[in-house]
Amino acid sequence: MPRPAEHWVTFTVDGLEVQAPDGVMLVDGAKYGDVEIPVFCYEPKLGQPVGACRMCLVEIEGIPKLQTACSTPVKDGMVVHTQTQRVHDAQRAVVEFLLINHPLDCPVCDKGGECPLQDITYGWGPGTSRFIEPKRHFKKPLELSPLIAIDRERCILCYRCVRFSQELSEDYQLILLERGAHSYVGTFDGHPYVAPFSGNIIELCPVGALTSRAYRFRARPWDIEGAGTVAPTDATHCNVELTVRDERVMRVLARDHEGVDDGWLDDRTRFGYQAVHVDERIVQPLVREGTELMPASWEKALGAATAALKKAGARSAALADGETTNEEAYLLQRLFREGLGSGHLASRPHGELPLDAARALADPALQATIPDLEFAHAVLLLECDPIDEAPVLDLRIRKGIRRHHVQLAVASARPTALDAQAASVMRLAPGGAEGLLVALDAALSGDDGNLGGASTAAGSNAQAVRDLAAWLRDAGDDLVIVYGERALRGQGARALLNLAARLELAGRDGAGLLEVPSVPNARGMREAGFAPGHGPGFATLAAAARDARGIAEGLASGELSTVWLNYADPVRFHPDRPLWESALGTAQVVIAVETLLTDTVREYADVVFPGEAYPEKEGTLTNLDGRVQRLRPAIGRPKGATGLPGSGVRPLWQVIADVARDLGLDLRALTGAMASSQLFEAVPFYGGLTLDEIGGRGIRWPELNAEWDAPTEVARLEVPAAGPAAREGALRLGTFRSLWASKDVDVSPALHFLRPRQVAELCPQDAEALGINEGDRVEVSANGTRIRGTAKLRAAVPPGSVFVAEGVTDEPANTLTEPLVEVRRVRERELEPQL
């Protein structure tokens, strides 16, 4: 549903004439006149008001009973009183009622000092209580999950947390049990409340009933400062407020941004901050001496890196991922292109796009925004699962379906978290997205010649594709296609552009494409020119260079000699681990910028520059819908072992500039801001942005009306080759990357329990044929390479496919490089004894 138009009304609060948008609730409307009405249960982000706490009762002329301001929309000419005796009596009554069983443990309560109940009690309460009965006492705190502690004594039953679980994240795990005064918040049969967004309930709780186990008793509100920045944990770049005490990040809170995260955070962003302050953190340069990485001075490390790069010259390459900012990407590509004459710069694990396709896909006219997901007529989710790749998008899509009746279609190989909400679901063969896009193009153009073959390549059939094409055509004007990076392989990008042209998505507000890249700042790096096929701002280059796989092949074959890994861990996260192992093993020098001592760094790096963690960084990031946002340093960079100034972590723009200088290239980056302004000048469509303009909320550059020349003609497509079909004893291999497969999760004590373990997801039919039961240890193998995992039976997995997890450190899925694998149960005697 398109966004409704806004209309303003005038009403009176406490004798003050106030104008507010029509339809807002009185609580919000009164704020336009600076009148505060106290609330506990009201939180408009959680959906319809419930009117449960009764704190917001006000008097409205013409209505005999007091009304809840949280559920009464403002109307023209309404006369409201919030300061009459009746209202005071009611408010005091509610506070008195709420406090009768609420313990007076504010001095030892984590919420004390930032507690709405405390504030409202002071502001609106009766001051004393007449309740002399014994208060109820219960054991406290109790574990609700490894992340959250629950204190049921303090709970005032405002329903916020259960509404979040039930109506917002829709995981429906957190419930109210029993009835009346016996009601309490809990879960089914003592199961923990573990869900990707569970941490949000801590922030929603208006009392100290739900607290973060990682933050409990670490600081009081008067000890801390808040620092706003954005989190580069995934490509949405959630806005966060870091709670800082003594140069340490103690907590991460959401900094509500309607255009980005809508005020929610996933648990990885919320609890991953612990990785900033762990022992595994690299705080000074390391240089390999013999087989050991030894701490080294900056001079030595810079010297080693410079020498290696100078020697390699055009035979050097760079790979970026993780926390890489736009500025770093820009400076790095200058360093490599101008200083070394190498254009081998890659960030995408699944391959880069040809320049024309990259440019066409970035066309501002084709861009959908994150809020469009909420107001579109229809959304197609193509080969991606937001819950793992860009979690808050999952919440946005759900919100759209719930509030604005958005129609959702899902087409993916692996079942997604949104399947249950979708109007139609199409299961593809692993890697079949290209086939589907070509088939959809054929169906929309009426080209029956390609349709059959392409549908088969997709792992579907012509009729299903025709139905989906018809659905897309008839879904309504505002159609948003959310696609994963894997869908762009081969002719995928061209086909997607054809689709957009045929569905006339270009230039339409509220419609368009939205990429969910697998690298957090993928969009920004591409736009800053960190790509093999184009320079900053998609500038044309004389010659294209190698993509990620090409770099690996070049290193393995000796055609390339030195590689710069900028927060990148290709061995873990890129396909074809054997190739990368051989590449990094063969490479003469591996220069790594990394925050943590990961396996790849430990094993392969020769020179290691300590990387800044995001709370220490400055610079800009561009999120998946083109919003350029600022990273602002919240804490100082860690010092080195000597404690001397400059011995520890240095800003990365400075490191790059220093290397460049030693190579005889002056990057003219003396400050972070200088790097930013260079970037803004170099990328034409960033339109001369300034850091000030970007401010705390960011700017979507597609809204800056940049000139864009993109090809409009539709391309002629070929039927892609179908992957091999499953056969007796061999299943098609699909992979997925869990939200929790990340270096932060590995080292954060709070998140440690979520570290993914290897699984093999099978449908029950295949499992039965293979004699595999739920929970069995199974071996997935091809060509003699094998990984082990736990069998997980899922009815929604398509027969003939098996899915294993990427980025799992102990049983890495990317060692399997064949499309077909054998799956068998590991017999008990084969299992190694548990130590």
Binding site: E36, Q48, P49, V50, G51, A52, C53, R54, M55, L57, K65, L66, T68, S71, Q85, H88, D89, A90, R92, A93, V94, E96, F97, L98, I100, N101, D119, I120, Y122, G123, W124, P126, G127, T128, R130, F131, E133, I156, L157, Y159, L176, E178, R179, G180, A181, H182, S183
Partner: protein, 453 residues
């Protein structure tokens, strides 16, 4: 005895079957209604001025007229979650004459254009639900329920939905939540069910007895029906009389009969040698009235009982005789509402809990007369501040008991303190009966505290 619309021949076991019901003119009024325009049927209901029998006493025709026109899915729900203490009329009516309810629902459904209808019957009424299931199956087989009823354009389905034991589901919006498969929590109003009810569609919710009036209204004509009873309380009423009476049971009377005739005449009055101390005029949610002549002479109709400070409610009289301690009744009543409070809104959840705790202290003798003041004030804090009327339903009778029987409460406290060896209660400073709810700080004209941001 007067007119017996419902109870005339109701004990005929054949009446439960379609044949037996048809023999007595069953489903003829449905045919008559279907031959009329829906608006004309609605007009008859309006003319009858019959008021809801479930507790709130809202005019049935008016409620029906709130259902918007149009072709959206509309719903009719029969509230058969009869759980008000002292009320048991719907149970007997459904069990003995199920087809009358079905016919009434079909007529009402036709008048408002509802194609889906539900009977939400409380789970404890197992037998009655079985009877209804059988009757619905029979009626469906005979073409009274389903597509194109009797060949007319009207289509209406009927599902008997069994609850699972929660008084609050008698509240109409809580009933809707329960019917939607959720916890039976009341919803905020507005939106009212007539606009956005079951599955977000316009919904008419009526009590069993109310809907059973529809065939009678069709037969008599609305205007004629309105002659029964009094001007503002038309029709007959099945009154449930229970408690300390000699002949408890359901009695059908025209509204407006003197209460005395109900309690003494029909129900036989209190047991020999006892007198009536107090009575609930309309279920346990109604404020109690003393058993004095002044109140016994009240005509039993909506307006007179309301004027006396109570309400007709579901039409259930519970008689309390002089052998019963009012404190015990208060504790029972308060405990019931604490048990049945859904817990959604603060004043009801905490207020009922607090009241029970105070009353238990009164009962055990740990209280002082000051507690009565606090208790009365707590009741005032509940009334009008809750999401639904359940909180009020406890606060009103408890408040009325303290108001009418304060001396007995105080005597009980004194005696119990004496028994416990606690000595006499010290008179309270600063907390007289008129001391008000908040003796601690002057409430008016407070500045918002700067601490609150």
């Amino acid at each position: 005895m007067g007119v017996q619309l419902f109870y005339d021949g109701i004990d005929d076991p054949e009446l439960r079957t379609l044949d037996g019901y048809a023999k007595r003119g069953g489903y003829e009024m449905l045919r008559k209604a279907l031959e009329m325009e829906p608006g004309a049927v609605l007009q008859e209901m309006l003319d009858s001025e019959v008021r809801g029998r479930g507790g709130a006493g809202f005019a049935m025709g008016k409620k029906m007229s709130f259902i918007p026109g149009g072709t959206m899915d509309k719903y009719l729900v029969c509230n058969a979650d009869e759980s008000e203490p002292g009320t048991f009329k719907d149970r007997e009516l459904m069990q003995k004459n199920p087809h009358l309810l079905i016919e009434g629902m079909l007529i009402a459904g036709y008048a408002i254009g509802a194609n889906k209808s539900f009977i939400f019957i409380r789970g404890e009424y197992d037998h009655q639900a079985d009877v209804l299931d059988a009757a619905v199956a029979e009626a469906r087989a005979a073409g009274y329920i389903g597509d194109r009823i009797l060949g007319f354009a009207h289509t209406q389905d009927l599902v008997v939905h069994r609850g699972a034991g929660a008084y609050i589901c008698g509240e109409e919006t809580a009933l809707l939540d329960a019917l939607e498969g959720k916890r039976g929590n009341p919803r905020l109003k507005p939106p009212f069910p007539a606009v956005q009810g079951l599955y977000r569609g316009p919904t008419l919710i009526n009590n069993v007895e109310t809907l059973m009036n529809a065939p009678h209204i069709m037969r008599m004509g609305g205007k004629e029906f309105a002659r029964l009873g009094t001007a503002n309380s038309t029709g007959t009423k099945v009154v449930s009389i229970s408690g300390c009476v000699q002949r408890p049971g359901n009695y059908e009377v025209e509204l407006g009969v003197p209460t005395r005739e109900l309690v003494y005449g029909l129900a036989g009055g209190p047991p020999e040698g006892r007198s009536i101390k107090a009575w609930f005029p309309g279920g346990s949610s109604a404020p109690v009235l003393p058993g004095t002549d002044e109140y016994m002479d009240l005509p039993y109709d909506f307006d007179s009982i309301a004027k006396a400070g109570s309400m007709l409610g579901s039409g259930a009289i519970i008689v309390i005789d002089d052998s019963i301690s009012i404190v015990d009744v208060a504790v029972k009543t308060a405990k019931f509402y604490r048990h049945e409070s859904c817990g959604k809104c603060t004043p009801c959840r905490e207020g009922t809990n607090w009241t029970v705790k105070m009353l238990e202290r009164v009962q055990s003798g740990e209280a002082t007369p000051m507690d009565l003041d606090i208790m009365a004030s707590v009741q005032e804090q509940i009334i009008g501040n809750c999401l639904c009327v359940l909180g009020d339903a406890m606060a009103m009778p408890i408040g009325s008991m303290i108001a009418h029987f304060r001396e007995e409460f105080e005597a009980h406290i004194d005696a119990a303190r004496e028994r416990n060896g606690l000595g006499a209660a010290i008179p309270q400073v600063n907390r007289g009966r008129q001391g008000g709810a908040y003796p601690m700080r002057e409430p008016a004209g407070i500045e918002p505290t700067p601490a609150v941001v």
